[in-house]
């Protein structure tokens, strides 16, 4: 299969973004320093890096939940000044509301955005069918498995029909087999709908099989130290990519760039206290 064309239009851009936090004792902590990169329309870019290097921070800045100390994030060319309807995020936690049925959870975002009820139901129905969750539409979250819950969360993210998806380790809490299925569903959906996505992951294989490009971040203060284009095609089919031997080369390269072989657990210490 063909990898969908990636246009030259820039959907998401970080321009010289620096983020400093002030902790309780008043001392500063620079989480990310001078990060610049851009993601084109329809492109899927993965962001990898050691724990605490500021990946989630970048995601929060992109979604407009936090403002950077310096620099600017842009979506469709305009600076992000707050949450906006073009961007949707999904986390490791499914964040499903226990009092809402599956359908109602999928409709959560479009309900807030005041999409008319008829259209809401229609969109939820279509998405649930696509993710083979139709028969669970009136179940409550506690009646679902972890993988199903995460799929509902993905449907909720897609329901608002965003241009850009920000995914923060979306599948790291599910088991390995479920993860492969979810990766397949995500890759297919992103390709079909030609969505732009920034995917944070600790799973190098996931980064390689799902993306067009992988950005490697340094330890804190995080900055982009490398960019590796994945020239394998078949971005809509992670399973096909898994079978490709080139995958191992890419993973090895990423490991090398992350210096995993030599890294001790001292990044835990550098990662600061939670």
């Amino acid at each position: 299969m063909l990898t969908p064309p990636v246009s030259s239009l820039t959907r998401l851009e970080y321009r010289a973004v620096t983020m400093r936090f002030v902790d309780r004792h008043g001392s500063g902590l620079t989480a990310v320093r001078d990060v610049s990169f851009s993601v084109r329309d329809g492109e899927v870019v993965s962001l990898i890096g050691p724990s605490g290097c500021g990946k989630s921070t970048l995601l929060n800045i992109g979604s407009g939940l936090t403002a950077p100390s310096e620099g600017v994030a842009l979506v469709d060319g305009s600076p992000v000044a707050g949450p906006n309807a073009q961007v949707a995020f999904m986390l490791q936690k499914d964040l499903l509301l226990p009092w809402r049925t599956v359908t109602e959870n999928v409709m959560f975002g479009i309900e807030i955005q005041r999409v008319p009820p008829v259209e809401r139901k229609e969109r939820a129905r279509t998405l649930l069918e696509k993710f083979s969750l139709a028969e669970f539409s009136s179940h409550y979250p506690h009646q679902l498995s972890g993988g199903m819950r995460q799929r509902v969360a993905l449907a909720r993210t897609l329901a608002i029909d965003p241009h850009v998806l920000l995914l923060d380790e979306p599948f790291s809490a599910v088991d390995a087999q479920t993860r492969i299925v979810l990766q397949r569903d995500l890759a297919r959906t992103l390709a079909e709908a030609q969505k732009t996505a920034l995917l944070i992951t600790h799973d190098l294989l996931e980064a390689v099989t799902l993306s067009d490009r992988v950005l490697v971040m340094s330890r804190r203060p995080g900055s982009i130290v490398d960019e590796i284009a994945i020239d394998m095609g078949q971005r809509d089919s992670p399973l096909a990519r898994r079978a490709d031997r080139k995958v191992n080369d890419y993973v090895a390269r990423l490991m090398d760039r992350l210096d995993i072989a030599h890294a001790s657990l001292d990044h835990e210490e550098a990662g600061g206290t939670e």
């Binding site: 979604s63 407009g64 949450p83 906006n84 309807a85 961007v87 964040l95 509301l97 959560f108 807030i112």
Partner: protein
Amino acid sequence: MKKSASLSPVRKGVAASAGLLVVFLAAWQWGPGLLGVPTFIVPPLSMVAREFVYAWQFDHLLLHTGVTIAEVLAGFALGSLLGSFVGYLLGMSPTAELALSPYILALQIAPKVAFAPLFILWMGFTVYPKILVAVLIVFFPVMVNVLTALRTIDPDLINLARSFKATRAQIFWKVEFPTSMPPMFAGLRIGATLAVVGVVVGELVGGNVGLGYLLTFGEGQADTPLVFVSIVMLTLVGAIAYLGVILVEHRVLHYLPERHVDGNI
């Protein structure tokens, strides 16, 4: 197979409960006599039952019970409304919480029933001081639970709503309010039993109607069976209030997984 296995512990429990009740009632009926306890100390069951019929016919037992129920209902309703309202208010305004928390803590520590005589001085031998004690006593568990629920809500959940461009009101009604429901009901359950305590103390301190009054009346007459009747009726009122809350709770929180009373999940 599986069903009967999970049902039998419940059945066993119910059977044991019923058995215990029979034993208790029998002990009440014949125990005092066997142990030589005089009937004016512990009147046997049959005597209390007779007293119940008598009180119903000649002591306006129904009226006293009705008044107590009305006061409990009023105190519980007002107290929980006020408690949840203040809980939401403080939960949404950290400034207000900081400013008010020392006073709220002081009020929480103060024994609420001690206010009963004061309220009677203020409002006389009416139903209002009783209701007010109940309001005060119900207020805290509800307020504290609502406040804690809002404090401990997952910030990512709020961020999710914010990322969809939710307004403050939408965040409240679609996330915060429903999230606070289970802890709020826990508070209401405590409140339901405490409301009875508040009302009874109010009635004990002053007035001439209500089960609390009947208690002191019985005491003054050295009418031990009447005291027993009053206690039983008060327990009944408390139990009904508690069950009422549980019933509503099951309706509202129907989406929560079944609680396994039988312990084998």
